[in-house]
Amino acid sequence: MLQALARNKSIGFGVIVVIVLSVLALVLPTYWTQLLTRVLIMALFATSLNFQVGYAGMFPLGHSMFLGLGVYSFGLLFTKGDLALTPAFGGALLISIMASGIIGYLCLRGDSMTFALLHLGFNILLYTIVNKWISFTGGNAGIVGISRPGLFSDTQSFYYFVLAAVSICYILMRILINSPFAKVTQGLRENEERLRFLGINIRRFQLVIFIISGLFAAVAGILLAMLDKGVFPTDISLTKSAEGLMMCLIGGMFSFLGPSLGAAIVVIISTVTSTYINQWQGLLGIIIIACVIGFRGGILGRRKSKLRLSKERVHQ
C-alpha cells in the first residue's frame, strides 16, 4: 500500500518535472536551451552509470566507453556507413549491446577490484584506439557532419526530442528498478555473499545489469553525437568517466534522481568554467578530491536512503 503510494507520488513528480522542463525551453535563450539539452543527455548517462554504482555496488571506473561506443558507432555508421538516421541508431544500439556483453564478460571474470581495474583498462584501450586509428575515427579531431532528425534540427525542437527520448529511458529504467530483478541487484550491493548462499548466479545478474547500463549509456551517446553534430574523442575519455562518477557522487548514489541533479551541477560547472580556463581535467581532479573527502553522501543521498529503510520497516 505504502509502496504503491510512493510510486504514484514519483509518477506525479516525474510529470511535474517534465512539464517544468518543457516550459523552460520556451522562455530560456538559445544558449541555455542547448546547455539544458546537454544536461539531460548527461543525466541519462549518469543514471545509467548509477545502475551499477548505486544499485549493484560495482565499481565501473570507465563507463564513458559505452557513451563513446554509442557516439562512435552511430557517428561512423552515419558518416562512413552512409546509413540513414534510424538504421544507424538501431545499428549503434546493436553494436553497443554486443560490445558491452563482451567487455562485461571479460571484466566480470575476477573479483570486484579486478573488475574496477579492467573496466578502466578497457576504457583506456578504446580511447587509445579512437585516438590512434586516424583514418577510421578521425583521431583527435573527431568526425563532423552528423545531422539531427529532420523535424528536430533547430535547438529548441531538438531539445524536445531529447527530452522525449530521455523521459522514455527514465520510465524504462524506473520500471526495471522496481522489478524483482532489481531487488536482487540491490542485494548484491548490500551483501554479495548472502546472495551467493541463496544459490543466485551473481555473475549473470551483474552481466545483465552491465549490459542494460551500457545500453542506456549508448543511447545517451547517440543523442550526444546528434547534439554536437559530430564525434569527438573527449566523449570516450577517462575524464568523461570520472565526470559520470562525480555526477552520481554529488547528486547521491542511493536515489534514482540524484545522479541527474549531479549531472546538472557538473555540466554547468564545466561549461561555465571552460569560458575562463582551459584546465577542466585538473579542476575536475580537485572537485573529485574535495568531494570524496568531504562530501560522500551526496545531495539526495542520506535522506533518501533513510526514507527507504524506514519504508521497508513499515512494510515488514
Binding site: F59, L61, L106, T114, L120, G121, I124, T128, G282, V292
Partner: protein, 287 residues
C-alpha cells in the same frame, strides 16, 4: 642479420620489462598492504621523467636518479595524507581519489612543462653501442637493465632482510595484528605508499632519455600497468615480475615482427590470460 636484430630486441624487451616491473611492484606492494590501487602511478612515472628533464638541464643524470624519485616520493606521501579519511570506506572513494590526484598531476605537469613533447639527450658515455659476442648492443638499455636490476635486487633484500621489509610483510598478512603490537600503522602506510611511488619515479627517470616525455602518456603507462597486474595476479610480486618481462619481450619482438599489430599486443595478452586463468598467472584463485 635477422638474428642480430632479434637479440637486440630481446635486450630492449627485457630492460623495458624491468622498468615496467619497478612500477608494477610499487602498485602491487601498495595494493597488498593497503588494498588500494594507485591510479596515479602512471602520472608519477611521467613526473619522474619531467623532473629528470629539468635536473639534467642543470646537473646530470646521476643527480636526477637520486633527486627526482625522492621528490616524487614526497608527493606520494602527501597523496597518502589525502587518502587517510577514506580507509575503511568504500573502495570506490579510494580509487576515485587516486584518479583525481592523477588528473590534477597531468594538468599540473602540462601547465609547468608545456604540452609539447620533451626529449632528453642521453648521456654521452651511454649513447654508443657495446660489442658483445660479435653483436652490437645499445649501451643505454644495458644501463637500464643494470640499474633496474639493482633496484629490484635491493627491493628483494629489503623485503627479506630488513626490519622495514619484515613490517611490510607483516602488514600484508595481518594488518590488525601489527597495530595491536603497538606499531604505528599510519606511519607504515605512509612509508609504504611513498616507497611504491618512489619506484615509479625511478622508472620514469630511467626511461626519460629514450622516450618523448608527454603528460598525456600517463594513460598509456597506466594501461600497461593494468595489463601487467591482471596477467601476473593482483597481489603477486613474482607474478608482476614475470608478467612485466613477458610483456616487455613480446612488445619488443612484436614491434619488429608485427608492426601493424604492435599497439594491441598488451591488450590481447591480457584478454587471453583472462579467458584462461582469470586470477592471473601467479594469483591465488578465489575462495
Amino acid at each position: 642479420m635477422e638474428l642480430i636484430g632479434l637479440f637486440r630486441q630481446l635486450l630492449i624487451g627485457i630492460s623495458s620489462g624491468m622498468v615496467i616491473f619497478l612500477m608494477a611492484a610499487g602498485v602491487s606492494l601498495v595494493f597488498s598492504g593497503m588494498n588500494i590501487i594507485n591510479f596515479g602511478q602512471g602520472a608519477f612515472f611521467i613526473l619522474g621523467a619531467f623532473l629528470c628533464f629539468s635536473i639534467v638541464n642543470v646537473l646530470n643524470l646521476w643527480w636526477a636518479l637520486i633527486l627526482a624519485p625522492l621528490v616524487v616520493a614526497i608527493l606520494g606521501g602527501l597523496t597518502e595524507f589525502l587518502l587517510r579519511p577514506l580507509y575503511g570506506k568504500s573502495i570506490l572513494y579510494q580509487l576515485l581519489l587516486t584518479m583525481g590526484v592523477a588528473f590534477v598531476m597531468v594538468d599540473g605537469m602540462q601547465a609547468i612543462w608545456g604540452k609539447s613533447i620533451r626529449t632528453i639527450p642521453g648521456p654521452a658515455f651511454l649513447s654508443s653501442t657495446l660489442p658483445f659476442l660479435g653483436l652490437d648492443f645499445p649501451t643505454y638499455y644495458i644501463f637500464i637493465l643494470i640499474i633496474s636490476g639493482l633496484v629490484a635486487l635491493g627491493l628483494w633484500l629489503m623485503f627479506e632482510k630488513t626490519k622495514l621489509g619484515m613490517l611490510f610483510r607483516a602488514i600484508i598478512s595481518d594488518r590488525e595484528m601489527v597495530g595491536n603490537l603497538g606499531i604505528n600503522v599510519a606511519l607504515l602506510f605512509n612509508v609504504m605508499f611513498m616507497f611504491g611511488v618512489w619506484l615509479s619515479g625511478m622508472a620514469g627517470v630511467l626511461m626519460a632519455p629514450i622516450i618523448g616525455i608527454d603528460a598525456q602518456m600517463a594513460l598509456q603507462v597506466l594501461f600497461t600497468l593494468i595489463v601487467v597486474l591482471v596477467i601476473g595476479g593482483l597481489k603477486s610480486m613474482r607474478g608482476a615480475f614475470f608478467a612485466a618481462v613477458i610483456l616487455g619481450i613480446t612488445n619488443a619482438l612484436g614491434s619488429m615482427l608485427l608492426p601493424w599489430f604492435y599497439t594491441l599486443i598488451p591488450a590481447t595478452l591480457m584478454i587471453i590470460v583472462l579467458l584462461i586463468k582469470p586470477e592471473g598467472l601467479f594469483g591465488k584463485p578465489e575462495e
